[in-house]
């Protein structure tokens, strides 16, 4: 594991923010948080492909729940149209945590093009994101999630990762 934050730490933050459901496809970093999230009482919804995650989260939100989408940047690339529809057409304020593959090192995938496209794509989708890249950035993540929820905006926390 090569994660900035412990699962228990993340789960406690998400629970404190009031999230009821986490809709996710795991990667090496985000997947390590699953057990702690489930043990904290939130319902984890494992999807087959990331486009589903935004639509499921939309249904949850419309039904009165408070969902969070948690996917890798590769899933962000895959799920563009679903994201566009939910966040921009319908303006549903679904926050997300997105894993930034290879940001901390490229040992597994030298020259990983995720580094070239992730942030430009977040900007293209007009998403307000914060990059967290060291353990001391945990409060930055917490503040951005809280602020997004308070403002009713779909804030994104981009979590630097060191593995695929």
């Amino acid at each position: 594991m090569n994660a900035l934050f412990r699962g228990e730490q993340v789960a406690e933050l998400l629970r404190e923010c009031g999230f009821t459901h986490v809709v996710t496809v795991p990667d090496s970093t985000l997947g390590a948080w699953e057990t702690a999230i489930e043990e904290s009482g939130m319902r984890l919804i494992r999807v087959c492909r990331e486009g589903e995650a935004w639509a499921i989260a939309a249904g949850l939100y419309l039904g009165g729940a408070r969902p969070l989408v948690m996917i890798q940047c590769t899933g962000l690339f895959e799920s563009g149209d679903a994201l566009r529809n939910v966040l921009h057409d319908w303006k549903l304020p679904i926050p997300s945590i997105i894993g930034y593959r290879s940001y901390l090192n490229q040992d597994t995938l030298p020259g990983d093009t995720c580094l070239a496209f992730t942030e430009p794509i977040l900007k293209a989708w007009q998403l307000d994101y914060r990059l967290v890249k060291e353990p001391g950035d945990f409060e930055l993540m917490a503040e951005h999630l809280r602020a997004s929820l308070a403002a009713g905006t779909p804030g994104v926390v981009l979590v630097a990762e060191g593995k695929a």
């Binding site: 999807v47 486009g51 249904g59 419309l62 039904g63 009165g64 679903a82 057409d89």
Partner: protein, 212 residues
Amino acid sequence: MTEFRMSSLDVLRRLRAVRKDYDIVVSAMGAARDWMALGSHPRDWVFVPSSMGQATSLGLGLALARPDLRVIVLGGDGGLIMNLGSLITITAQQPANLFLLILDNGVYEVTGAQPTPASDAGREGAPPVDLAGLARASGFRAVYRFNNFDAFTQELEAMLDTRGPVFAVLEVAPVAGAPGPRSPGPAPARAREFMTALGRMDAMTRGREDAE
């Protein structure tokens, strides 16, 4: 060649007749066009604009958030095959209150009736894909296939009383020259109205439970 025996409007008209006031109905693409043509209801989620294929997923989210209500999703075969993984995601969650009704006409109707790759005409001689079989293999609790309106009429209410998740293929005829659905109004405002309608439904369903 599959013999289509039902009209989409007839099927939806029948559904509207038995739909309970507390039911949520999600409709997309051609199904949304036809459903809107029959009227409106505060608990209708007309998924226009949509991301094609995502109606089943949105329905799952609603079903999980509101287990006290039935959620009926009306979609097409073209949309379903864009998001086949949703069948697996749905059955993993086992929502007892989710009903997928897939209007299977074999074509992308609103773009000019081009064949889908799952249909007879789109498969270079390979047999058509068995959508009901896919649902069954994915783990739906009950799977139906209807190509006869009388049988559909007879079984519809019992099907909707079945413990979900339920999947039904309704073989319908494509409508030549059918237009795509038009949004009935600005999407964000409709989202707010829908949520308000679900909030009101809290009191209504509580009343229903008290009466029972």
